[in-house]
Symmetry: C2
């Protein structure tokens, strides 16, 4: 099945890189490690990406875009039902975290290693995603001020993103239910 090998290569490299970066950290993975993970030599990667940092940037950009787009879609679909919108945001994020643990891990650990041209864009996307959650939550908790809501959303992300590290305790399905219940309760906790 060598049919469509060419264009898949880029995605294959990014996936392998995300797994390795998640497991050992950006600086803990060498170019040769990355090449070996896709069955080539190290320098072969320079035919697809200009450098190691570009790999990381591509991973983070794609993740940030997916999260932001998905969040926007869900929030807008339930624009008049914030309770349901929050539920959908939670489900979407949880599904992503359980499906792509490596991406979630890299996404919230390695931003500092992305060089400046791309870092700003990734930050913007991340901030937009957070604000999506904040604006939904603001309608459910009108008494809370925005800084508190932002901190609460960040804390909830910490809860949801912890899955990759604790992983094997539970099967994906009950884990999703557990995270949903905990995330909802945490975000709606008055005090």
């Amino acid at each position: 099945m060598a049919g469509r090998a060419g264009s898949d290569r880029r995605a294959e490299i990014l996936r392998a890189a995300a797994d390795l970066f998640a497991a050992r950290g950006f600086h803990g993975v060498s170019i040769d490690d990355l090449g070996r993970a896709v069955g080539t030599s190290g320098p072969a990667l320079y035919r697809h990406f200009p450098g190691k940092e570009a790999l990381l940037a591509a991973i983070l950009l794609e993740v940030s875009e997916r999260l932001a787009a998905d969040g926007k879609e869900r929030a807008e679909a339930w624009i008049d039902d914030p309770r349901r919108a929050l539920e959908e945001l939670l489900r979407g994020h949880i599904r992503f975290a359980l499906t792509e643990p490596a991406l979630i891990t890299v996404h919230d650990r390695e931003l500092d290693n992305v060089p400046e041209p791309h870092r700003r864009r990734i930050r913007r996307l991340q901030r937009g995603y957070v604000e999506q959650w904040v604006s939904v939550l603001a309608r459910l908790r009108p008494e809370a001020d925005p800084p508190t809501l932002r901190a609460a959303v960040h804390a909830a992300f910490g809860l949801l993103n912890s899955t990759p590290h604790s992983a094997q305790e539970l099967a994906p399905d009950p884990m999703a239910e557990l995270l949903l219940a905990m995330g909802r309760a945490a975000l709606l906790a008055g005090d």
Copy 2:
């Protein structure tokens, strides 16, 4: 015994190392960086620690011990009031996370870089700490099975430990209150 002066230096090195490891990751910090952070040259550190990995091991061991000991103390002090025991566990962990963000960060990111003799001990301490929480929580939620409780505790740690990354949104005091409310709600969420 020259205990005081020598051990000041040691503690100073460990603190600087924790800050750097938290900010840039274990592999992102060089021996020269570590030396510079305490006003000496890089190789001077070998007068106090056998190597870079030993620095990390010492940091993680101390943190794990502090958490485990503190958790045990609080849980046993309220052995007959699990509601209060959970409250105390939460407060203790939150205080630690807010007071020592670098230690918390290194503690849950860098275990894989600790070589084997010490890693096992650190893991044992960490597991003991988790079980402390689980056993308190089990009395508050008798219907839940242990794997679910363990996963819930890990998720709660993710929530509490996210502080260092979101940090500057809120002053420490309201942040502590927010985390307490969210952690309590998340852990007690029936479903």
